[in-house]
Symmetry: C2
Subunit: 322 residues, 2 copies
């Protein structure tokens, strides 16, 4: 029920995954009448997609904690409780990000030893995607928080992205040790002593050159990095679209249209579909609110893949107990 183009695009995206992957059971949680109507428009219903009724929904502008506490029959809370009870292995939502985070933190809870869960996202580079965290959960961090993000990211890169001994970098404003603000200067020696495969500082441009498999930062810097890249990418894509519109039909126009499609595929959020919240007892992927069916499908696949990867169990095993 959440997302700018819900329910139509969310249901379409779920159907895409249900049809391509018979091994994955998809439970659509939301208003049963609304969902039935959407599904009926999409042809024959595969066996691996079912509806679970939820009478309420949490709006994009609602206060996250209050909404989660008061709307117990909302699609977001019911889906989350299904993960908590083991009835489901992962949730995906393109709705209220804060509410999804609040539910995960308050009700699924943190993996013992983890102080602050973080949102991870991946960015395009010429050598595969780079993991960046925190991308949205903690705008103010301590050096210890950043060090835990490095651990979360490192295990995630290994289990969910298949990287061997993943490299970890610290987002900074210069390459040399000793650069940066107080936070990163205090974090640097902790990462050096962490036993992780720390490769030093990574500048904002080098993130897109795959300077490290995992790049850690506070969520303020992470958000600025992501939004800045989005802003300049859109500016460039619009420039090409304008050039394209001015061309007469013909080979040149076809070539430019193909170049544009290639660029969009490279930088578009619809390709990744969502960002997992790492450090909680379960799998929760938060989709971009502006996702269409293709983005929703990518997000559902991501949630499925993380659940299958054994990331949460590996994280638990990596932390000292008690």
């Amino acid at each position: 029920m959440g997302g700018d183009y819900a329910p139509a695009e969310v249901v379409k995206g779920a159907m895409l995954v249900a049809r391509e992957d018979a091994q994955t059971q998809i439970i659509l949680v939301g208003d049963r009448d609304v969902l039935a109507e959407q599904l009926s428009a999409l042809g024959e219903l595969p066996n691996n997609i079912v509806v679970h009724h939820a009478s309420e929904r949490i709006g994009m502008a609602e206060h996250p904690v209050t909404a989660v506490q008061e709307k117990r029959d909302s699609s977001l809370v019911i889906a989350g409780l299904m993960v908590k009870s083991g009835e489901a292995d992962a949730t995906f939502s393109a709705g209220n990000t804060g509410a999804a985070m609040a539910f995960a933190t308050l009700e699924l809870g943190r993996v013992p030893g983890i102080k602050r869960p973080a949102i991870a996202t991946t960015l395009p580079t010429p050598h595969g995607r780079t993991l960046l965290l925190d991308a949205g959960a903690n705008p103010d961090c301590t050096p210890q928080n950043l060090m835990q993000f490095a651990l979360l990211g490192s295990i995630y890169a290994e289990k969910a992205l298949g990287r061997t001994n993943p490299t970890v970098g610290l987002l900074n404003i210069g390459g040399e040790a000793g650069k940066g603000n107080e936070l990163v200067k205090a974090t640097y020696p902790l990462l050096q002593a962490s036993g992780l495969n720390f490769v030093g500082n990574v500048e904002g441009n080098s993130v897109f050159e795959h300077a490290a498999d995992v790049v850690v930062c506070d969520a303020f810097a992470g958000n600025v990095l992501l939004k800045s890249a989005e802003g300049i990418a859109e500016l460039m894509l619009h420039t090409i679209q304008r050039d394209l519109a001015a061309l007469a039909d013909g080979e040149a126009k076809n070539v430019l249209a193909a170049v544009l499609r290639g660029l969009v595929a490279r930088v578009d959020h619809e390709e990744t579909g969502g960002a997992p919240l790492l450090g909680i007892n379960g799998v929760s992927v938060i989709g971009h609110g502006r996702s269409y069916a293709r983005g929703i499908a990518s997000g559902i696949r991501l949630a499925r893949d993380i659940a299958r990867s054994g990331f949460v169990a590996a994280l638990r095993a990596a932390l000292p107990t008690g």
Copy 2:
């Protein structure tokens, strides 16, 4: 003598401006023999370009404060002292940024009332360029620092960029008041009460949509924003270059090459040439180390235009004295 392609490209850039603008007197400060040799390769010497000898140079890796204190006969120090004495109206350097900042802060000094000078830069948008500061001087800031950056930026936008009643935004990770880290949450009410034309929070992507004429942030966030934009822009430009190289000669290739040139012109640092240090007693523009002649020329023009704009006098007039 500073910059990755100095002295050849720096001298060429200076010559470009000397030839196009007879009203501007250019003083090249550096080794007289080296400069004479470079100039002799560029044809007839216009009357408005002269050489001022400096026997030393500050390298890119030298410690800024130490270098400025010890190398009193370096090109950077001598050029700076000419501004201090009134013999020159502005300096431009593509050399050691830290040394240029150290000289400006220690020897030209801050305008009375300004706590921390800031580096300003401009970014492309579909509606002209947006000013961002701090882009490099202060990685850790107080709310009062950010408020002063807003004042610096506002006066600069008015005097040097010709904006009437420029709008000021606060770089943040959400649009609503109350979003962000502790720093920006404490800065928001100060900007509201500042008497400046404050338009609220601006997210990283909206910077490139001209959400405000002036966007303020600490230099950590500012650097991350700039470098991230640079990184994704280069990734996209490389993708197009690869597509271009794969095309056979013909109309389609010509069209794509033109599109690429248009994009480069839009996002390339050579177009802006440099970033002024604002809040000091004088005009000092810091060029990108990787500048070729075109970028050097842009930076020299910028320094000239700021000097002519009366920015420093306007800033002094705007601050309470004593």
